[in-house]
Subunit: 173 residues, 2 copies
């Protein structure tokens, strides 16, 4: 006997949008925290620069929005050369935010539970692809925190995200 039906809701589509945009806002602040040259040149342990990591995150947004809206899962744009200046990277970041916000509001909720072959890379329900994008961003952003610490720059606080405290709760507590 269980009080929990099989398909009980943990997260709604509304909260997903707020959560995702909150993560993206924090990542934007991490990009901003890098000095222009270090953003494109610094890394540790032979890894990619933070500009390269952010470009990867960025280039997954448009194809994923197309997949969610049209059920067409193509890699379009992913892996191409990214912005070459901090201002350009931030402008592309903001553009992707606007695309994400306007798109998510129109995704039919049932789409998240449809299985698709995403970008020729994996076959999974769309929600798993969305979770992958968010996890990938948090993972690589955490690496950016180490880069900043190695550069003796204090990164933004991880828990200062607009999405952590959903609207209507007591943010002062």
């Amino acid at each position: 006997m269980s009080t929990q039906p099989a398909a009980a809701t943990f997260l709604t589509t509304d909260v997903l949008q707020e959560h995702w945009l909150g993560h993206r806002a924090l990542t934007r602040r991490v990009i901003e925290a890098f000095p222009e040259d270090k953003l494109f040149t610094f890394s540790a342990g032979g890894m990619r620069t933070f500009a390269q990591l952010a470009t990867e995150m960025l280039q997954m947004i448009a194809p994923t929005m197309k997949g969610l809206l049209e059920d067409v899962w193509e890699a379009g744009g992913y892996g191409q050369p990214g912005p070459t200046t901090k201002a350009g990277l931030l402008a592309s970041w903001d553009e992707a935010d606007r695309l994400l916000e306007s798109s998510l509001a129109r995704v039919p909720a049932e789409r998240y539970h449809q299985v698709a072959n995403a970008f020729g890379m994996w076959t999974a329900p769309a929600f798993a692809t969305v979770l992958y994008l968010i996890d990938n961003e948090v993972h690589h952003r955490g690496q950016g925190y180490v880069y900043l610490r190695l550069l003796d720059i204090a990164p933004p606080l991880f828990y200062e995200r607009p999405s952590l405290m959903p609207k209507g709760t007591d943010e002062a507590a």
Copy 2:
């Protein structure tokens, strides 16, 4: 006009459990990848060791399970000294996994949407606290990847998680 009702489901409680345990399994492999001494001594940029980061993740599980099951949100155990050996850390990790698995199966789904003051630290619906724990783990695990790279050790592949491909999909694709 929208095809998406306000409370449409993005993620079910069943998938949450699979997703979370999948992340914990990957983090376990990151702990395993560290040589015993480096786990407890190595860090970069003045940050905490990976043993300290993993202990933080670990010590949030039991209080969160108590909160989800009993609606009692106390910090019990968090911040105390953690395991001092790799075997001890892995054993505690496995114990927390068992607690997590047995607890999540019994959490009333409505609990996730109740607002609570968690550990005296923030006031939010329980789902936001759960998301915070997962995000915190992914964030710090990403930092562990940098530590491993700096130690010239190849970390496990980020996308090799049992949870990425939910059961029943074509994992070979």
